[in-house]
Symmetry: C2
């Protein structure tokens, strides 16, 4: 498998974990010293903290996530992915769509998320 | 200069361009095929479109931006920067603070932004 295929495979497992509400799978998708940069939050570092963040995310009623890879830039042991995502609630309605930027790192032949950020493409809520 | 110093130098020029409301400097800070992923917007690709996006940003009354690099991961011709930013309005009040993730690319000895995204760390506006 080349790096784009490894990233695709990891994204499938990520999507499946969200569909199943399975936050326990999350640590295997991230490096041990991973950091995520979620919108409207400070950065979250390390496997346990990332699982906790994702659990809160499931508790918001996110039923499914659809990531789409637009670009993979291979850089030796690392690769940068740029893509888009759509989030769906329990009733299959689109709750958000946006963009992702992920630095993947090769760990023992598997591609794992090392630095992971995203933001919405929708207008901000009316205030 | 090592890559961290080159990134620091480019960030100084970026900050100065924002302070001066000088969107014409922007293209020299980005690769010719750069893409930015701004919050609440679709991705914006290419020098002209990025200048136009930044001009709209100046028109919102952003007087100063303070970026802070937390981490640089060198990857050959590329480097990933993770950091934080603060934005200040005309009256020096903090209007936003958040996180950045930038893929820098070496072009002719200069580090240029190739993929650039950010999001706010503040809570979303009350609806």
């Amino acid at each position: 498998m080349d790096v784009a295929e490894r990233i695709h495979e990891a994204n499938q497992r990520f999507m499946e974990a969200i569909r199943a509400g399975d936050s326990a799978t999350m640590p295997s998708l991230y490096t041990s010293d991973a950091t995520i940069l979620p919108p409207n939050s400070d950065a979250v570092s390390g496997g346990d903290a990332i699982v906790e963040y994702r659990q809160a995310f499931f508790d918001l009623g996110i039923a499914a996530a659809q990531p789409e890879t637009l670009e993979v830039i291979p850089m030796g042991e690392y690769a940068l992915e740029v893509g888009e995502y759509s989030l769906f609630g329990d009733d299959q309605t689109l709750t958000d769509r946006g963009k992702i930027m992920v630095l993947w790192k090769n760990e023992g032949g598997a591609s794992k998320m090392h630095r992971d950020t995203w933001n919405s493409s929708l207008p901000p809520p009316e205030t």
